[in-house]
């Protein structure tokens, strides 16, 4: 798509794009290039020289059981976060859509978690499930369940999933509600007059009409779970216990900054880069297709 009417001039437009060009060159392309470059070397322990290893870092990573475990952890984590947050959001959106009056009030209240930073959400949930002072931990104890996410990897995973999904409900809710409200009432009413019950109507009419939104949210939520949940994991578990909540982004951080293993961290960045690239392409392809609807 191009504008029919354009202004003349060469220097002015170049001047206009200059600020963005400089900022992205310095803080985006150069670091991204560095990541690719560093991934091909191993620095000596004093950081004085770099040794070319080709794809050695990648080979090492893919053969490393911790790194492969981190892939599995990421897959489990992002699947659970996506399913939980989208499930709860869809449930709430369907209910809010049924209301003729008052859905605005619920919407205003349900938006809240969007404004809460993942790291803050992490602190809130950590406080509830804290092994010493947590309220939920205490009541679980009364019921005879000994909650300890510091030692139990599955409980740690459960906690970071719930905290991450919690922060994402608003976002998914807004998109689902908008999509539901865009479905013509007459279609649903016609089915109702034909005697279709709520569940039948949902399954045969509403759900198929929601599928573009559902698919879009699926991609966006996976990206969220991959990258934006760092704050949740860092505040609640720090990747533990025994790396059971170390997702890929967390490992880039802990290998690069905590363990100072720059070559490996850079190689991990490149692998993530490929994953995000693939997800972005899926997303854009999908949006293109959606235009034709």
């Amino acid at each position: 798509m191009e504008k029919r009417v354009t202004f003349k001039g060469i220097w002015l437009p170049l001047l206009l794009v200059l600020p963005q060009l400089v900022v992205t060159a310095v803080f985006f392309f150069y670091p991204a290039g560095q990541a690719v470059y560093q991934s091909l070397f191993i620095p000596d322990p004093f950081g004085l020289s770099m040794k070319w290893v080709g794809l050695g870092n990648f080979e090492y990573l893919l053969g490393n059981s911790y790194y492969r475990a981190s892939f599995v952890t990421t897959a489990v984590f992002s699947t659970l976060v996506t399913v939980v947050s989208m499930g709860v959001a869809l449930y709430l959106a369907v209910l809010a859509d049924r209301l003729i009056k008052g859905s605005g009030v619920y919407r205003t209240l349900l938006i809240w978690p969007y404004a809460v930073a993942p790291a803050v959400a992490g602190v809130l949930w950590l406080f509830m499930f804290n092994t010493r002072v947590g309220v939920v931990t205490w009541y679980l104890g009364v019921l005879g369940y000994d909650w300890n996410h510091v030692l139990n990897g599955e409980e740690a995973m459960g906690l970071v999933v719930v905290a991450s999904a919690w922060g994402r409900i608003s976002y998914n809710f807004l998109f689902f509600l908008a999509a539901l409200q865009a479905i013509p009432r007459s279609v649903v009413e016609a089915a109702a007059i034909d005697g279709a019950r709520f569940w039948t109507r949902f399954r045969t009419i509403v759900w198929p009409l929601l599928s573009p939104t559902t698919f879009f949210l699926l991609v966006v939520n996976i990206v969220y779970a991959f990258f934006e949940t760092f704050g949740v994991i860092h505040t609640i578990t720090g990747g533990g216990p025994q790396q059971s909540t170390t997702i890929l982004v967390y490992k880039v951080f802990s290998d690069g900054f905590v363990a100072q293993d720059l070559g490996s961290s850079a190689a991990q960045s490149v692998i993530l880069l490929v994953i995000v690239g693939a997800l972005t392409i899926v997303q854009f392809k999908f949006i293109e297709r959606r235009v034709h609807y």
Partner: protein, 285 residues
């Protein structure tokens, strides 16, 4: 009656109450963590460390919040909030300004390298800062921008989401407007300033809401580059308040800080709700 209820689309009686009940259960799930944090910020430390803590607010609201704001744990929280505010405003305004200018250039001019530039910024859509974190840190360190506002702000405005949004919007602006401006002999910047900018007001505001929250809620980046407590932002500063080792955390102050950390973005979202939802749906679709 269930039969009548399921046959009708508009809910009355029992069905409506069940709908409200379902939504209220959802609200409880959403608000319980926030409520508990608020309660914890109004009671004393002994009340918290001897579980179960009370579920209703206590009488130490002012004391705890004053303690957090004025002294905090490592740095006064008021100071951290100021840092967050500067960072969030810097990111939101900086990104809006450079994106408006470059989108204007891309849409309204034919200049050499336009296509290349377009694809370059397109590529930035794909990489969140988390992915290129180590080399970006090195760049910022080499510039001596650790523990500085520019170090907090610039790496996070290096992406083109906003440019795309403005480009899309400018494409919908009728050609006649630019034509008329050209016939009148108006200079491009006059057209930009007098016509395009006023027309973009709602888009700018919607984007501002989203970028402000994005900036305010940053965690990993400030965590890496602000080693000096006086440069900490509030969102990353909360974690720093937890003692390392076995000491007991100062829960009332930490939870007061958590509440303070969510107040500005919540106010922005709620007060600009319509714009926010519009901006969200526009920018993501």
């Amino acid at each position: 009656m269930a039969g009548v209820d399921s046959g009708m689309v508009e809910k009355r009686g029992l069905g409506r109450w069940m709908t409200h009940l379902g939504l209220i259960i959802g609200l409880l799930f959403i608000f319980f963590p926030i409520w508990l944090a608020f309660v914890a910020s109004t009671v004393t430390q002994p009340e918290i460390v001897k579980p179960p803590m009370p579920l209703l607010p206590g009488g130490h609201f002012f004391e705890n919040y004053r303690r957090a704001l004025v002294s905090g744990v490592n740095a006064p929280v008021a100071w951290m909030m100021l840092n967050s505010l500067i960072m969030a405003l810097g990111i939101a305004l900086g990104k809006i300004v450079i994106s408006l200018l470059s989108a204007f250039a891309i849409v309204y001019f034919k200049f050499p390298g336009r296509r290349l530039f377009f694809w370059l910024i397109f590529m930035t859509l794909m990489l969140p800062v988390e992915v290129r974190i180590v080399p970006t840190y090195e760049v910022v360190a080499n510039f001596g921008m650790l523990n500085s506002y520019s170090g907090l702000i610039f790496p996070l405005i290096a992406s083109a989401t906003a440019t795309f949004l403005f480009r899309q919007f400018f494409m919908t602006v009728p050609d006649e407007l630019a034509e008329a401006a050209r016939v009148d002999g108006a200079r491009p910047m006059r057209f930009f300033w007098d016509i395009l900018l006023p027309m973009s007001r709602t888009n700018i505001a919607a984007l501002f809401v989203i970028l402000f929250i994005y900036g305010w809620n940053q965690y990993l980046w400030p965590l890496l580059i602000t080693t000096d407590p006086s440069m900490n932002t509030i969102v990353m500063g909360i974690k720093q308040m937890f003692p390392s080792g076995d000491d007991t955390a100062d829960w009332p102050v930490i939870m007061a800080t958590s509440i303070l950390a969510m107040i500005p973005p919540v106010i922005v979202v709620i007060s600009m709700q319509k714009l926010f939802i519009r901006g969200l749906v526009d920018s993501e679709k």
